[in-house]
């Protein structure tokens, strides 16, 4: 029971990070029907920006951990958003209206560019930081002495994710920007006929996705404490799996899919083998694509008449 609880907590933490990244995939797919394969690398950039921001803030003498973390988060969101905006502007917008595969190929190219860029400017070696947030709360102790505990950093990650996803869902559901986004998602041409600047809405969608990926990157940094230029690939593919599992194009689906992938991975690692945890996650992708191609909360493609 204690062991189970521990895996549950670990899974939810991991799932929060995947969920935050998955939203970027699903929103972009919803609005322009492409998989932004560079999104995982935007997450990686977010983690590196967080690292740099953290070092700068520490150098400036801000040592209060909550304040420092908040600053890092805000800086990472702003700078990473700029990356997201630029990627769309440079690599995807010129290809709009071109054949379907063109932006996809461009996205893969962009992913390689970002990885190499970070590798060159930051070096290929793994970067490690001291744990910033320590301690935790013991929850349960078993007879043989195993203590299930939730670390403070896990609390921070889960709470931040819940708060951001709530805020984000409210933006999409209630604001005029969110309404314009949904309109573009449902009928891009009609939205333009109603005076919506669709290019602007698409740009802002990339910005929002990148900001959430930056949060995920920041969380990843403080949770694991190690970074390299390659983390975006695996995390990106897993978040993509989460988006597919939840139903690509669906926001609640991305969040649910993220949590599920996190849980599956944590339980697999906890009960079977941590070496093969990626196999579990990717098997889910294969199974989902075969038996549940529209995902858990996705819509079947209905032919319009």
């Amino acid at each position: 029971m204690e062991y189970f609880l521990q895996q549950l907590i670990n899974g939810l933490t991991l799932g929060s990070i995947y969920g935050l990244i998955a939203i970027g995939y699903t929103m972009v797919y919803g609005i322009i029907g492409m998989i932004n394969f560079a999104h995982g690398d935007i997450f990686m950039v977010g983690a590196f920006v967080s690292l740099i921001a953290l070092l700068l803030i520490t150098a400036l003498g801000i040592t209060a951990v909550p304040l420092a973390l908040l600053l890092v988060l805000v800086i990472a969101m702003i700078i990473t958003s700029l990356y997201g905006w630029t990627v769309e502007r440079v690599a995807y917008r010129p290809l709009r209206g071109s054949f379907r595969l063109a932006p996809l190929i461009s996205a893969i190219g962009m992913s390689i560019v970002l990885q190499n860029y970070i590798q060159i400017v930051q070096g290929a070696r793994v970067k490690a930081i001291q744990p910033i947030v320590t301690g935790g709360i013991p929850l349960m102790e078993s007879a043989d002495g195993f203590v299930a505990r939730i670390a403070n950093i896990q609390i921070i990650i889960i709470v931040t994710t819940v708060v951001l996803m709530t805020v984000f869902s409210l933006i999409v559901a209630k604001t005029s920007l969110g309404r314009a986004q949904r309109a573009c998602e449902q009928d891009l041409k009609m939205a333009a006929l109603l005076g919506i600047d669709t290019n602007r809405v698409i740009s802002l969608t990339f910005v929002m996705g990148a900001a959430l990926a930056a949060v995920a990157g920041c969380m990843y940094l403080v949770y694991y404490g190690v970074l390299d230029f390659y983390i975006g690939f695996v995390a990106g593919v897993k978040a993509f799996t989460a988006a597919v599992l939840g139903g690509i194009g669906s926001l609640p689906g991305a969040m649910l899919g993220g949590i599920l992938i996190g849980l599956i991975e944590a339980f697999w690692a906890g009960y079977f083998s941590s070496e093969y945890k990626d196999v579990a996650a990717f098997s889910i992708l294969a199974i989902a694509l075969i038996f549940l191609p529209t995902g858990i909360l996705g819509r079947p493609e209905v032919e319009k008449v």
Partner: protein, 241 residues
């Protein structure tokens, strides 16, 4: 005579290499209802979309109140108080009726939203009953009403209507055409209407144009066109209601 509200001058539109409009000339004057009739595939809807720059005309000019809008972006054209209820209605299916109408008012900044909404509900009382329902769940007639109401929410001077009668029961067609006539008479709304239902359209319209294979072949007042033998033979025989 003063300059027309909308002037189409020698417009040629292509889809890839295929020519759809082969040099169209047409005027819509302020306060008029103008009908464009023609068979399937004649290019009527293409003309409607070309006015909005989707696709853009490759040759020729489109002038709105004397301003050249041929190369403008679609959303900028929409902000000039031209609205369209397009082919296929294009309701946002997963948005409520209310949200669809909010989208219609996107260009106005929402100052008159409440009073405009009331006006739409007076014009189409059915929409009020369906306010919280998703667009995709409405019947065809209700969707058509919503598409027109959504276009009107932007407070247009010029309204483009693409086949408002398509697939609708005669009674609903009558309602919708009645509403269009009222808007024109009471508020001076200029309407440019594309129809296959030539009889109703020409009866309602002040003037009409006939399009065949991407060119205008005939024009005149609604009554003149209705009286013409070729029109009766091609568009009306058997279709009279």
């Amino acid at each position: 005579m003063s300059e027309p509200l909308l002037a189409v001058r020698g417009v040629k539109t292509y889809y890839g290499n295929i020519i759809a409009l082969k040099g169209v000339d047409l005027d819509v004057n302020e306060g008029e209802i103008v009908a464009l009739i023609g068979a399937n595939g004649a290019g009527k809807s293409t003309l409607m979309m070309t006015v909005f720059g989707k696709p853009q005309a490759r040759e020729g000019q489109i002038l709105y109140r004397g301003q050249d809008i041929t190369r403008m972006e679609t959303h900028e054209i929409a902000r000039l108080q031209i609205a369209q209820s397009p082919e296929g209605r294009r309701i946002f299916p997963r948005m409520t009726v209310y949200e669809n109408l909010q989208m219609g008012a996107a260009v106005t900044g929402g100052q008159h939203f409440a009073s405009d909404l009331e006006r739409m509900f007076t014009l189409f009382p059915r929409l009020k009953e369906r306010m919280g329902q998703r667009g995709g769940t409405l019947s065809g007639g209700e969707q058509q009403m919503l598409a027109i109401a959504r276009a009107l929410m932007s407070r247009p001077r010029l309204l483009l209507l693409d086949e408002p009668s398509l697939g609708l029961a005669p009674l609903i067609v009558k309602q919708i055409f009645g509403a269009i006539g009222e808007l024109n008479k009471d508020e001076g709304l200029t309407v440019f209407l594309v129809e296959q239902n030539a009889y109703h359209a020409l009866k309602l319209a002040h003037r009409g144009y006939v399009m065949v294979n991407g060119v205008i072949t005939m024009s005149g007042t609604g009554r003149e066109l209705l009286a013409k033998e070729e029109i009766r033979a091609a568009y009306l025989e058997g279709g009279r209601q």
